[in-house]
Symmetry: D2
Subunit: 372 residues, 4 copies
């Protein structure tokens, strides 16, 4: 069950960083949606290695094949199987991983859990696994557009190391995110970030950062208290991504330092709808979307793989040793993590949209009588 996500729009991802390939089976997708490989490829290309000079140079076209569930360009309502072969696998480059645990990687914990691990390039713990998520989310986006027209998800790099971008979540556009290699829509700061990433790579080091994500146009009513609150499912979705260390929504950790009178979002009537005058709630109240923008942030640690030598122990736990990475890797995961964050947000939203339709229908339950 650990490789299956979602309750109604359900995905099962599979594959290791080296081996036959990676993929996903999508179960529960609504029928009749116009889907083809090009739609998936657009998002896979935003995630793939080798797309710029600040990401890993591993050469993978990440070309996807849809093997089932789509007939004459339309989804059938039956499982959609997507397959992406591995191409530029160089297991030989990972020989030393066979004999020693890489610090802050999953080598040791996989061994401790399963008693066996695929030591070629991280195996299942590789970010390559997220291909299935991104492909599934490309399908989910089409479904979401059908169910909730006007809904839009935009993620972007908010901070790299100690460099913080200045971005207005209310107006940021995908085109601005995609306008530079680091996926930070603050163009001036993006240049500094790219510089910083190149610097730390040159030093054999790596760097972390924060991604912010905004969902605009989400109607009130999504989210299922008490356990499957919208923010709870978003938190789980984000923390299931490799290298994540934190999640916060709306005011987040900073909000914990305010008083109630500073923090509360007053209600008002605007354009015939119940709206809030501020948005420290981050678009969710009591676990349910309130119609305001959903805004959350995800912390990513610096890439664990670095060229500098590090202390570790051998894979048979018999001796201490040193390890310096030789394989190809990202000096900073954030540029490629932007489409991953977006994908997980989309997967949470489609699932909750279907759950909402199941129990409550998708029609608004509260019609405002705005005559103030």
């Amino acid at each position: 069950m650990s490789n299956i996500f979602g309750h109604l729009f359900r995905i099962a991802t599979w594959g290791e960083s080296h081996g036959g390939g990676v993929g996903v089976v999508i179960d529960g997708c609504p029928p009749g949606l116009a889907i083809d490989e090009g739609i998936l490829q657009r998002d896979l290309d935003r995630r793939r290695p080798g797309q710029s000079d600040i990401v890993t140079p591993r050469k993978e076209a990440d070309r996807c094949q849809i093997l089932s569930g789509v007939f004459q360009g339309r989804t059938l309502g039956t499982p959609i199987s997507v397959f992406v072969p591995n191409e530029d696998a160089r297991p030989e480059a990972y020989a030393e991983m066979q004999t020693a645990f890489r610090p802050s990687h999953a080598d040791y914990t996989y061994q401790a859990k399963f008693g066996i691990r695929n030591w070629e390039g991280g195996g299942r713990s590789s970010a390559r696994e997220t291909i299935g998520r991104v492909a599934a989310a490309a399908v989910a986006k089409v479904a979401l557009t059908e169910l909730l027209p006007g809904l839009e998800v935009v993620a972007y790099v908010k901070a790299i190391h100690d460099l913080d971008a200045d971005i207005d979540p209310a107006t940021v556009r995908l085109i601005d995110v995609e306008s530079n290699a680091v996926r930070c829509p603050d163009a001036a700061m993006a240049r500094q970030m790219i510089e910083r990433i190149k610097e730390v790579r040159a030093q054999g080091d790596s760097v972390g950062g924060t991604i912010e994500c905004i969902v605009r146009g989400c109607p009130p009513g999504l989210g299922e208290p008490v356990f499957d609150r919208l923010e709870a499912d978003l938190a789980k979705a984000m923390l299931s991504l490799p290298a994540t260390k934190g999640f916060e929504i709306g005011s987040g950790f900073a909000g914990a330092r305010l008083t109630g009178s500073q923090h509360n979002d007053a209600f008002e009537l605007r354009d015939g709808r119940v709206r809030t005058t501020s948005n420290r709630s981050g678009g969710v109240q009591g676990g349910i979307s309130n119609g305001e923008d959903i805004v959350f942030r995800v912390a990513f640690k610096p890439t664990a793989t670095i060229a500098k030598a590090q202390k570790t122990v051998t894979a048979d736990a018999s001796a201490e040793t040193e390890l310096a990475a030789r394989g190809r890797h990202d000096p900073c995961v954030l540029p490629r993590a932007v489409p991953m964050v977006e994908a997980m947000a989309v997967l949470v939203l489609i699932d909750h949209a279907l759950r909402q339709r199941a129990q409550n229908g998708l029609e608004p339950k509260l019609t405002a009588h705005a005559d103030t």
Copy 2:
């Protein structure tokens, strides 16, 4: 499904803040465990209202009854039903909630989702719902002690408003947490926090803060990549608690500002086991526990209910109005949220312990040969 939590140790909570009561059904509990109402009551008493002069004065004994699943003092392996009647319900005090949406509460979103809501005291969105979680976790603790002897969970208040406590997670003890009303084991800071809470209450205001939680003695191997990573399930569990705005594990958001060489946890051999020399991972690597202390933090917003007048709209969305709380409420949720955080951590751990036993057994998979 939204009121059911867990995959193998599964709980279904029910009840509203006013009405017949609240409770929980626990499914999948191992048999033969020594359980009685006293064990549950100890934790329920830590959660209940009226326990000190800085929490809500609502008078609820929160006396629990075990209605099934325990026979002659032992769990049967069949569902354990726990019931706590509501006693000091004063629905009349909530009359104005019927006619206006409380800012930053769930009144509006419940109405928008379901088209109906129980406006007596918050209904299902009340923190009273967490009684079922705390009762279930008291049972889960006994099961966990059986499965993973030596495992220990301690949560405590780390910060209130801008007051930050100085606590060593490695050594903090439950007895120190319970030694004061605010549940902060830094005694000097606890006094200031209590003072602060009384001050804001006197001003008709409220205040937020941060709770830290530590899990000691967790063996390597718990957590199910890729979606049910231990930190992902912890994040979901915590964000499913009322008033939470953020979750971070190990280095958290601060870790995003480090480089890889600063952040990575080097491995060493210690006492015949693979250990790390630092713990910025927070006890979890690749979604799986690594045997180090699991450390995470949860941000709570200031209580939404405040005595100060606030702008809002009427419940039929026809007019703007003002609202000032008259009901009993906590000026700060954190003291009572400590056992809730602990409970959710325990529920995640028991579920993962059972999942680990199912797939991999609970015996260590990696025996160290410590001859360095």
Copy 3:
């Protein structure tokens, strides 16, 4: 998880035959439905002991209390907790069950699985557990009527021992089922069945039989291939009832003895809809309802509890012994099993109706152009 049923309309039942009581938590019920205890009680009364002279004389009013989820007579969309106290418990009558395993009961297997059992009256394996199912189904019926107006479920006794009733599934009415104590709408045969049950009881014996169930007015489209086919979920639901030994739909086991040309249901256009000229499919094709009547049968074994002495072994597995039942019991479970079969059918249908609405909406997908 084993005490939780359903994917969207989810119920968690709890309780043993002796102890505090039995009950159910219903999660995922649509909001706004008119529900009160009287609606539940009507079906509980059809299930309860002591209702006629051919069922167990145990005195239980089975009076239900709704503890949550209903506000001012309407469902809230939050969990509905239903509680039925045990009243006429006589654990002392079961003392000998403590020391010996009753043949063809669950005493031995519970002990073998859990290492412990509640030996008072069958504990969790008692048919008393089905109170929660019947109560939940009473709620589900109201939801189903809202979602799929015109849908109707009728179950009845088709055979007792070697006595087979002659009933037309297409026209049988609930009022005819309820017109006699054995719940067989063939009045003449019902009299013989009642006579037979009294005879076997007088002999210290018991008797089995078959229940048939019909669902009329189910639209095409319910059922989720490939694993959650409508007949698969019905089969599971029925075989989860105590004392069941078989399930068949439409032509069933007899259909296995036909040729394809005898068995196939030809399609025709009737009243502007696609219809079949026969119904050996039993209303389901490819796992999905086809709009015809859904017809299935469930085999119940004779009650295991009999007054005659039987060979068995002691509960510590140390010696062979004999056992003759003294407790109150049903000489034939079928009269009281009729509402249980109906309840499980309803629970399967509401779940599939909600699943269908989630993925496909509930509007017809195929409009016939009946101009033949």
Copy 4:
């Protein structure tokens, strides 16, 4: 969710009869098991078309590829993806299916549910979908042998049309099942069955029958009351197979015609264990295995596809028409359904074995003191 089966050993099947292929993702498999494509192929070959002169002549090698989850011949504990390409697809042969609904097939119901269908050869409702189940079960068998050594599953044809075989479930061997094309271990009857199948095929007709399955060596304790009883999950598993109409366990429908004193299985002590002197329970009591042989039967209807002309309606529901099958098909599904029944039984058993290990451990809970 409808294409995902199992709670801990979970499979997601995908694919249509025509298109890229079919496959399965297996999640939750224990690590360290010796698996290769040859092990899967053995069972796939028993299921594949063209294996004898009484099954469909469609030419499919059904050659499987393991794309993930196995490393150096051992399972990793991560998802195992299995892919079988479609080869001998002749969509043109199915052109008439585009324009008319085949009687007693899923053409109409898929259209009614989804508003779209893949009309090439049955699409998702094709028995070709069961390739994924058989492949997954081949893996599950290896896991099951590890967890419950001595457990053995044997399925065979019990009846074809009105021809009933005489087989002793206690002693029947796989080698006898596989000794003839119809998979009936009663050699004399097998010859008649083969003859009968050829006759009905010559007449442009088809024929149904019954498969019996026996599980030997299953320890007491498997099965999860109340909803996931072992027989309930077996019933669901079997009724999820194409063309099934009924399921019965132990005495089944015939048992419903007995009295309790005839039906009950007396307990005795044998070889130091609690055993029953008869097995009308079919190896399961109260939903839990009792250590006796598990015996159940599954009814299969005659193949819906027949060469004889049949009345039906057009796919746009505008007119009545006639249809006679031209595509390749099985005149009787049972010979190829034997490995499918076996596969589904294995998948239920491995899931329950893991669930049992999770909650109760796999060690016997009741040690007999056989001193009679």
